[in-house]
């Protein structure tokens, strides 16, 4: 598929050989053979592929700094990469770029129970952090489904969420500090083992910045003590509306479940076949609600949730009676993407966020779009926080189907924005949703974000072509949303 990326710089391409030689003087881990680079040519959004000039795997912050300084001086683009599980193409290399992989930053540096935090290098996987602290009953809260594979550095850069974000927050609510390297090689440390760094909240702006502002080389996260008791309930419904209303009512009754997930019929069957989770197969929609706290608290809350479910015409319910059973409930949901891979050769995963009360609405709209495009769709939602993952199935051998699938996905996201939601809840904009940014933001909004980018990276060398529409695109397509029929200050610069 054609994807417009910033024009490759011919001089850089012509100098590839000498650039590789120079990089070898800085780092002993420089990959430049085609087959070595092939591993890095794509991320979780595998419909797009591109090999960079070279892949560098630095081992120290100083090396990262030197690589960046070199690229900065020679006007070479840099793409940072963690584990490459990103679903929006954020780590897709550019033809004339150097890919900086944090793969060798794979050590946990300090486990500090007294200050309830862990200091780690960015290449460490999300799950290993919990692995390092669970013997004392602690864990790291944000739990993306990709947690076995994705890196904590990637999590910071995408502000990853998980099924427990409803109660315990997403990545940004759980990071205490970072060390980062700016494109000119400057090393900066933000925050640490204490709360709320002073001055501007640079840590907040770095979280979710998709590798456009700086390369993260060290991270301090807070860890939490595991709750005394955790139980989950499965609740089945026959209609989207009943399920949607049940979710809204649980939340408005003052209960904040630890997690609240929805799957529709195609996924119930696919995940149950795949993971033997014990799901009911005769319901249209399945809700998994997890509650935690003290034992008596959890029991009280489970009863309240079941009452609300009954009121909303639930046709099935089952509360977990053991931790084994609870984990089995989750095993299906967490394997959703893999399970779907078994039934469809290809799918794209969308990631809109909507107001909870629109859940039923949006599900119905997705169903009618599915008919319109003639493509099947399966849905899993982080229902508690209104974050949807429609999975659109297609066959990549049929070129038309990919185009259709992408148009279908874009329509879903536009609908999300229309009902008061946003384009992406946790996967990031990357290249995938870049050209939809003007659905949500006007020219001034985007211009402000671009000037902030310049404050960090005035030459726009770090991960260019991501997140923002490539130069002029928004305006050329006439999609700039003009407020009240006129732009406000026509004399100010535009992008």
């Amino acid at each position: 598929m054609s994807l417009i990326m910033p024009e490759p710089d011919q001089l850089t391409l012509d100098n590839s050989e000498s650039i590789i030689a120079d990089l070898r003087k800085i780092s002993k881990n420089v990959l430049s053979e085609e087959e070595e680079k092939a591993v890095y040519e794509t991320d979780g959004l595998s419909v797009h592929r591109q090999r960079p000039i070279a892949v560098v795997l630095p081992e120290t912050t100083k090396e990262v700094s030197e690589v960046l300084k070199y690229c900065y001086r020679n006007n070479i683009k840099v793409v940072p990469r963690g584990a490459g599980t990103g679903l929006s193409g954020g780590a897709l290399p550019l033809k004339d770029s150097v890919l900086v992989s944090l793969g060798k930053f794979n050590k946990i540096l300090d486990v500090d129970f007294d200050n309830r935090c862990v200091i780690t290098q960015p290449g460490v996987t999300n799950l290993s952090i919990t692995g390092a602290v669970q013997h004392e009953g602690f864990y790291y809260a944000p739990d993306p489904s990709s947690q076995i594979a994705c890196s904590i550095g990637g999590n910071i850069s995408t502000n990853a969420g998980g099924v427990h974000s409803l109660k315990y927050g997403v990545t940004t609510n759980n990071v205490l500090g970072i060390e980062m390297v700016l494109i000119d090689g400057t090393i900066i440390r933000l925050g640490g083992k204490n709360l709320d760094p002073e001055g501007y909240d640079l840590l907040g702006i770095m979280t979710g910045s998709e590798g456009l502002l700086a390369v993260i080389t060290e991270i301090t996260v807070r860890i939490l003590k595991k709750p005394q008791s955790v139980r989950a309930v499965l609740i089945g419904f026959n209609t989207n509306d009943d399920a949607g209303n049940c979710v809204a009512e649980i939340i408005s009754s003052g209960i904040i479940p630890a997690g609240m997930e929805i799957m529709d019929k195609p996924l119930i069957i696919a995940t149950d076949n795949f993971a033997k989770a014990g799901y009911p197969r005769d319901v249209e929609i399945l809700l998994i609600v997890e509650l935690d706290g003290t034992e008596s608290e959890v029991d009280t809350l489970i009863n309240r949730v079941l009452e609300i479910a009954k009121k909303n015409k639930a046709s099935y319910n089952r509360a977990s009676e053991s931790d084994e059973e609870r984990l089995r409930f989750w095993k299906g949901r967490k394997a959703a993407f893999t399970a779907l891979g078994v039934i469809s050769p290809d799918y794209i995963c969308m990631d809109g966020s909507i107001p909870r009360k629109k859940l039923g609405n949006v599900l119905n709209e997705i169903a009618s779009l599915s008919k319109k495009y003639g493509l099947s769709v399966a849905n899993c939602f982080h229902a508690g926080d209104g974050n949807l993952h429609p999975l659109i199935m297609f066959d990549s051998n049929n070129a038309k189907e990919l185009k259709k699938a992408e148009a279908f996905g874009a329509d879903i996201l536009k609908y999300c924005v229309k009902v008061g939601g946003v384009l992406t809840g946790e996967h990031g904009v990357g290249i995938e949703k870049r050209d939809l940014m003007c659905e949500m933001f006007n020219n001034d909004d985007i211009q402000q974000q671009l000037s902030l980018k310049k404050a960090f990276d005035e030459k726009s060398l770090l991960n260019p072509g991501k997140v923002f529409p490539v130069l002029h695109r928004c305006a050329e397509e006439g999609r700039v949303h003009i407020h009240k029929g006129k732009t406000r200050h026509p004399d100010l610069p535009r992008f």
Binding site: T158, N159, S165, L166, V170, L182, I188, R189, L190, G192, K193, N194, L195, D196, P197, E198, G199, Y200, D201, L202, G204, I205, T207, G208, K225, Q228, A248, I251, G254, G293, T294, S296, E297, T300, S353, I354, P355, R356, K357, H382, D385, N387, G420, G421, V422, T424, G425, E426, H427, M437, D445, I446, Q448, Q449, L452, K454, A455, H483, R488, H489
Partner: protein, 410 residues
Amino acid sequence: MSGTYTPNNQEEISQFIYDSYQANKPIEIVTFNSKPIGRSIQCSQTLDLRKNSGVIEYAPEELFIKVKAGTPLIDILEILKSKKQSLGFEPVDLGYLYNGKSNYGSIGGVTSCNLSGPRRFKSGALRDHLLGFTAVNGKGECIKSGGTVVKNVTGYDLSKLLAGSYGTLSVLTELVFKVVPEPEYAETFVLYDLNPKKAMEAFSVAMKTSLEVSGACFYSKKNTEFLRLNDIDSSKSVTAFRIEGPKKSVQERIVSLTKIFKEIKEKTVLELYQSNLFWKITANLECFSNSQNLVAKISLPPTETAGFISQFCEDDIMDINNKYFVDWAGGLVFLEINDKDPSYLILEKIKKFCKEKGSHITIIKANDNLRRTGFFVSTSDENIKILAAKIKQSFDPKSILNPGKIYAGI
């Protein structure tokens, strides 16, 4: 243009800033002027935002409220209360600190200071609850970021940056906050007569349990007389732990705490009413009510706090005796600094300590002299200052919004 301008709405705010941008005229931004915080600035123009006020949308079932930035915080709290909801960062009323009377100020002012109360270490800071905003930047352009939903990674998270920027990047016009259900019930478990070191150890022990402590503070024995609560013995140091949730669960967890601290003889439990009062007094820094001295807050890794206290707060042998208290389960110290030493030697020493121990100090109450000449935040990293200056420029290229409020020259 000079004097005070009080616009009615965003359009007028935008026009005023646009004109000031064209004319290179700096602006001091205030709403109720309840928080004389930050370095003092000299501007011929003051932009008073109190008229840009009112609730735009409150959706209790969606857990958000959208308000104009000039809305008095107290009004917002009352509306939320009617639906048994509140703001999760436990807003702080600094009115007591500045002039002895309640004055929550405006939601815009509180947001600009990223002020969060005792629940912060468990539930996050104000910035963690700000879902989105509309603002006017230093060129007069209306910009927005975020939305009304909790999960959102569409573009840079500018809400984080604007929270705590003290009005130096943009003028906030509309804010969307996440709201949370009010806890059903609460009690506070109190240990008496611990010395600071023992109190910090007690925090550490409690925080390593799964009892979900949602407030943990320490008042030394010389700073308890203002705690005029029936159920508190204010002749001894107080180490307090708040437990919230369904009543039965709260009481079970209080029993667990009692067991954990069984060797400590003197202890008590504050029930709902007294507990709520205790944390209100704590959140509002009432121990410094009407203080005539400087007040600073120091954010530390909890394990450094005992050392900090013995150096700067209380030490019998060294005859150090400053009024202070510890919040955030050991992560935050509020310290009163005697205003008599004009060289503020102690501030320099604290800055040095902070640099060495991964901590930082923010002056929250200063006299006019220090606000003109002194520092407000302790950032010592020149590279951070350079980056901060560039960020300021990206929002406010001519530096007309609260110039110099956080850093001199930025």
